[in-house]
Subunit: 135 residues, 2 copies
Amino acid sequence: MKLLDIGVLSKRSGVPPSTLRYYEEIGLIQSAARNGLRRQFETLVLTQLALISLGKMAGFSLAEIRGMFAKDGTPKLPRPELHLRADTLDEQIRGLTRLRDALRHVADCPAETHMDCPKFKRLMEFASRSAAARK
Amino acid sequence: MKLLDIGVLSKRSGVPPSTLRYYEEIGLIQSAARNGLRRQFETLVLTQLALISLGKMAGFSLAEIRGMFAKDGTPKLPRPELHLRADTLDEQIRGLTRLRDALRHVADCPAETHMDCPKFKRLMEFASRSAAARK
DNA sequence: CTGCCACTTCAAGTCAACTTGAGGTCAACC
DNA sequence: GGTTGACCTCAAGTTGACTTGAAGTGGCAG
């Protein structure tokens, strides 16, 4: 199995070496070996980093992400928990979609004052409701 | 126009008073008046807080959010910029959707080892590609 | 074999976004 | 008129996620 130097892994993943060392320190990834002092990573880590990137995108903390995936990159949570996470994501996706629609609408709608536009007002209303719901 | 005490605003919005003061300090919201020492907020601020919540959900920093909306809660960016933001959101939504699908798939797929499941492998591949793209 | 340069460690620094705490004000109820 | 409770200010502390810097190491091209 071919191993990657930290610089190569960094280049391929887009994650700076300092961050990779940090991730190893907190147990998010691990190096397979050393060549002298130098860490050698398995290519698998590239997949893990992709997963980490997605998880961060979804707003999970590194600690949560660490708890979510086994070291082979496969999820390691019980089924109900996985569904729960997925539901959270669904809600998040809906919120983001609304925000995107609001942005696009405002960009295209020629109305002088958006507060009078019924479509915009509906979006604002949704925003209020969902903000109140969370917490 | 009826004004809200910070406690009331906090209760209705779900945002702690300390955070509301902080938001005022950094110019994200403003209080309309004082009653003695006490800040009085317009109900409009509730809408703004909802927007802020959506913006945070979308991964924008408070500084970015501040730059995105005028103080009446309406977006104040030029059209191309709005579309650009919307595009960013689109990409983010796609990533989140993939992550959600991966989670759900793993929760339901009876395969012993997910790494051998073609569907899961496709999702992983996507994760790698999108992670490499972002940077 | 020598020098370069990408790596190493470890401690300290940074940044955003808040929270906490000490000490103070004020309107209202008992 | 005193105590309570919700507010106030301002400074300092916290957390998560990194980054930076100083000082050292070691593989390999020339």
